[in-house]
């Protein structure tokens, strides 16, 4: 049981956290032909947009209601109306997802009311699905915004079950914000190998996987279609990945009666054994040969790798579900989680295999990371890693100083196997060569490698 510690500082230094509105905007980007719209000042959009461009190395569709000083005080109805009309005329999307920001929340703009009035006045918007979500950036964090957006999509767009015929192989998957386009592709392969038809809500693998579209499109390049979203009620199961998606899964269950199974993480041997068992059970298909081989390869990688992971001390900072996935996996490989820092409250925090979990920033991480063998966090950890002279393994978002962030895979047997190689190689390449003084020094200065804790 980890102790949850709140940072007592008044000044956040080197933020780990990002805002709710852009978490929601990213979720909306997993919908086909979509345009996320932030109801705020144009900076709210532009900062988020630049961040995503640097991370995914893709064009990012994202618009703003461009609230002026006057509009933010007098109310932003005109801005929302104009924005929707302009977006419809310029980009002809199938979906517009509207995220509030701190500015519009303080004013108290009633978006539900706005949308009703706008719908009544603008028949040209009839063919466009509109979903609004409340995401003030003065509370919660990125993954909260993502989860809230998915819940709102379900509430607004999913047809009630009477209208939908059941499809026996159809399965809904609700991935958390930490699941990359690469992860989704890996999961799709796995589910399909059990003769299931997975539908991901949202599906970034269609929009932000990095591919060359046949033609120019000003909206998202792919993703789940509105039609597919409406019919999610036809599935037999829902699989949610990450504790953050529990709310969305429950909402979908209430609306459609579809039972859900939540996997807190899909990184590591045991976690994937559970997934395979579940899929085999619900599909009636025995685990395919391919995955039996992959499991065996993962076991072998664990055996080869444990020499280099055992006793290593790791400092890790990430959003709760990503923190859970990586800290449990590293712990299972024999590492000690010396520092764990996260952004927002979550039920999964108390199970993190560390003495304490700090709700804080990268300064909190840096202060606790001295003497560790590895820092695991997003690209903004680079300054701390450099100062401390500790290697950095980049996870999450943003990763702007490495290629292929959208294709980093950490789910499945194969994903876990490759992670062992990647992180293990980082340990290997930073191994210290012994010198005549190594053992003299270590006897005097180095504390014991493993703190013996009563679990």
């Amino acid at each position: 049981m980890a102790k949850i510690v709140f940072s007592q500082k008044h000044c956040m230094v080197n933020p780990l956290k990002m805002s709710q509105p852009i978490g929601a905007a990213l979720a909306f980007m997993g919908i086909e032909n979509a345009m996320p719209l932030l109801h705020g000042s144009q900076g709210c959009t532009s900062f988020g947009l630049v961040l995503f461009v640097r991370h995914f190395r893709e064009a990012i569709p994202m618009q703003t209601t461009a609230l002026s000083q006057v509009a933010s005080v007098m109310g932003g109805f005109d801005n929302v109306e104009q924005a929707l009309v302009n977006i419809a005329a310029r980009t002809n999307p199938a979906f517009i997802g509207i995220c509030t920001t701190g500015i519009s929340e303080i004013k108290g703009d009633d978006l539900d009311g706005f949308l009703k009035t706008i719908r009544a006045n603008h028949p040209e918007l009839d063919s466009i699905a509109l979903v609004d979500v409340s995401t003030p950036d003065f509370e919660g964090s990125f993954q909260d915004g993502w989860a809230a957006a998915v819940t709102r999509i379900i509430e607004e767009l999913v047809n009630l079950p009477l209208a939908t015929a059941k499809l026996t192989r159809r399965i809904n998957i609700l991935p958390g914000s930490h699941i990359t386009p690469g992860d989704i592709d890996e999961l799709r392969d796995i589910f399909e190998a059990f003769c299931l038809e997975p539908v991901f809500l949202p599906d970034l693998s269609g929009s932000l996987d990095g591919h060359i579209p046949a033609e120019f499109t000003p909206t998202t390049l792919g993703g789940i279609s509105i039609e597919q979203i409406r019919k999610t009620g036809s599935a037999c199961w829902t699989v949610a990945i990450g504790e953050q998606m529990r709310g969305a899964a429950i909402t979908l269950e209430h609306r459609t009666g579809i039972p859900y199974r939540l996997f807190e993480r899909l990184t590591g041997l045991a976690a994937n054994d559970e997934l395979m068992g579940f899929l085999s059970e619900i599909s009636g298909v025995p685990v395919p040969r391919k995955y039996r081989r992959q499991r065996s390869q993962l076991v072998d990688a664990m055996l080869d790798g444990h020499f280099h992971f055992g006793g290593k001390r790791v400092a890790i900072a990430a959003e709760p579900d990503l923190l859970a996935a990586f800290s449990h996996w590293l712990h299972e490989m024999g590492c000690e989680i010396q520092a764990a820092v996260t952004t927002t409250q979550s039920p999964s925090l108390e199970n993190i295999p560390a003495g304490e979990v700090v709700l804080g920033d990268l300064e909190d991480l840096e202060m606790r990371a001295a003497g560790t063998d590895l820092i695991v966090t997003h690209s903004h950890g680079r300054q701390a890693a450099e100062r401390l002279g500790i290697p950095l393994f980049r996870i999450g978002l943003p990763v702007f100083d490495r290629l292929g962030a959208g294709q980093q895979v950490s789910v499945g047997y194969r994903g876990t196997r490759d992670l062992i190689f990647e992180v293990g190689n980082l340990f290997l390449s930073n191994a210290r060569e012994p010198t005549p003084n190594t053992w003299i020094m270590s006897a005097e200065c180095t504390p014991p490698r493993v703190s013996l804790k009563v679990q």
């Binding site: 500082k9 008044h10 000044c11 956040m12 230094v13 080197n14 933020p15 956290k17 990002m18 805002s19 509105p21 852009i22 719209l37 705020g40 000042s41 144009q42 900076g43 709210c44 959009t45 532009s46 900062f47 988020g48 630049v50 961040l51 461009v53 640097r54 190395r57 893709e58 064009a59 618009q63 703003t64 209601t65 461009a66 609230l67 002026s68 000083q69 933010s72 005080v73 005109d78 801005n79 104009q82 929707l84 009309v85 302009n86 310029r90 701190g102 500015i103 303080i106 003030p136 950036d137 003065f138 509370e139 964090s141 060359i212 579209p213 120019f216 000003p218 903004h380 300054q383 702007f400």
Partner: protein
């Protein structure tokens, strides 16, 4: 917000701004702050602009008073380089929460300043106002005043809530804050007749260092840049410079003009991009200094350096001319950079087949027109879809633009080069222009283009048929 309101009006009426001068009276009131179209806007807010303008000051702690959306997505993102202090790369924010919204964020802000002073003891703290605290009425000027009194060091309010306008307005408001609180507050230990300020230069990718060695050679001292690789004390002492060069035409015009007004520092508007522009800038810096009392022999020395450097640059560009001659360039960049880069590209034999004049002043436009004659198309606003079509139909061989339109080119499988603020290469001065030509050549001659444009095997009906025949 009374003071901020009048400050904005003042900045919008900036008489030094050519764009502004050319406008009728009514339009001028709207100034650089034309209303942004909801759902069709691009670009940053005023806060973004202020941070761009001031964050290059390297030893200052930059504290953003606002919720996480203002600072959490954008810190440590720009390529402004430092020759020493690194504090500017540390991000500080009050990360306002619900409690602050209900009870006000002033105390929180004060305590945050205190923590920074205790931990880092920087020469100054810059406090940036954002939309949310502005809406709930946090008075950052008052907080900064109290903090300055208690901590005994400059705590500078930068009053730039994002919703007051565009990035450009933010640049100017940031300049106003420097004029009000920083410039002229300290005296330099020594001054020389060769002291200059470089205003509106941010040392992106270290570009200032491509130029500085030449100034050093001429004995010209940069008293302060505003703000690339600057230190707080340098900016505070910058009012003792003899002359100034204003680099990015529209961003900091108010600073240059007011420093002339208040401290009698003459300035000219110049550019470090392009061989001819670089030479012109060296000449004008020297001339201004001589006018203000420097020894006239400086002019001759400058001329010598210019001749040597130009010859060296041409010599290094010459081998590319054969390779680049006739290649067509689409150039999308802001303001003054357009014409100076156009000239440079032409020097290397490239043909500018289109350029943007969206951010250019009438003067800029005239200069571009003169340079490119009728060959080129000047676009006020080219939609990404149209850019894509131009590239896809191969009406250009390469696009030079900012990161926002990068993927328009790449998805059309066309070479692209980053020439905006986020770029990783330095293109200033004589060697910078050689570097730009080298980069264009690298992009154009990369062997991937032949491969990535090949149709996929299943897109080749002839091959498919042949295969079928073979199998049959």
């Amino acid at each position: 917000m009374g003071t901020l309101g009048s400050k904005i009006q003042q900045v919008l009426n900036e008489p030094g701004c050519a764009t502004n001068r050319a406008k009728p009276n009514l339009d001028r009131k709207k100034g650089s702050n034309k209303l942004l179209a909801p759902g069709a806007a691009a670009g940053g807010c005023a806060f973004d602009g202020a941070k761009i303008a001031l964050q290059p000051i390297t030893d200052v702690a930059h504290l953003i008073h606002g919720p996480i959306g203002c600072e959490g997505h954008s810190w440590d993102a720009r390529g402004s380089k430092s020759s020493g202090p690194l504090l500017y790369r540390t991000s500080f924010t009050t990360n306002m929460n619900e409690q602050d919204i209900v009870f006000g964020g002033e105390k929180h802000l004060y305590k945050a300043i205190k923590e920074i002073v205790e931990k880092h003891n920087p020469p100054a703290v810059f406090v940036y106002q954002t939309c949310v605290p502005a809406m709930i009425g946090d008075d950052i000027e008052a907080v900064c005043k109290a903090a300055q009194k208690n901590f005994g060091k400059p705590i500078v309010p930068i009053n730039v809530p994002g919703f007051v306008g565009s990035k450009n307005l933010g640049n100017k408001l940031a300049g106003e804050a420097l004029l009000d609180y920083v410039i002229g507050t300290e005296e330099p230990e020594i001054t020389t007749p060769y002291d200059i300020n470089i205003i509106g230069e941010y040392n992106l990718s270290g570009e200032l260092w491509q130029v500085k060695p030449l100034l050093d050679e001429l004995g010209i001292r940069i008293l302060s840049t505003i703000s690339g690789d600057a230190k707080y004390h340098e900016v505070a002492q910058s009012h003792r410079a003899r002359a100034a060069m204003m680099v990015c035409s529209k961003a900091m015009i108010n600073v240059a003009r007011k420093m002339e007004e208040r401290y009698g520092i003459p300035f000219f508007e110049g550019s470090f991009y392009g061989v001819a522009d670089m030479s012109d800038s060296l000449r004008r810096i020297s001339q201004l200094l001589v006018d203000r009392g420097a020894d006239a022999e400086l002019l001759a020395r400058a001329e010598k350096v210019i001749q040597r450097e130009e010859a060296r640059a041409w010599e290094r560009i010459a081998p590319f001319k054969a390779r680049l001659a006739g290649k067509r360039v689409l150039l999308f960049t802001g303001g003054v950079k357009s014409w100076s880069v156009v000239a440079a590209l032409q020097e290397a034999g490239l043909i500018v087949t289109g350029t943007s004049v969206k951010k250019s002043t009438p003067d800029d436009k005239a200069r571009i027109k003169e340079l490119v004659k009728d060959d080129a198309h000047m676009f006020d606003d080219l939609k990404p879809r149209e850019m894509y079509a131009m590239l896809k139909e191969a009406r250009a061989d390469i696009m030079l633009s900012g990161g926002r339109t990068q993927f328009v080119a790449l998805k059309a499988k066309m070479p692209w080069l980053d020439i905006n603020q986020e770029r990783h290469h330095a293109y200033a001065g004589y060697m910078g222009m050689v570097a730009l030509i080298e980069e264009i050549d690298k992009a154009l001659s990369n062997p991937i283009w032949e491969q990535v444009r090949r149709p996929a095997p299943w897109e080749k009906p002839a091959v498919q048929d042949a295969l079928h025949l073979h199998i049959a």
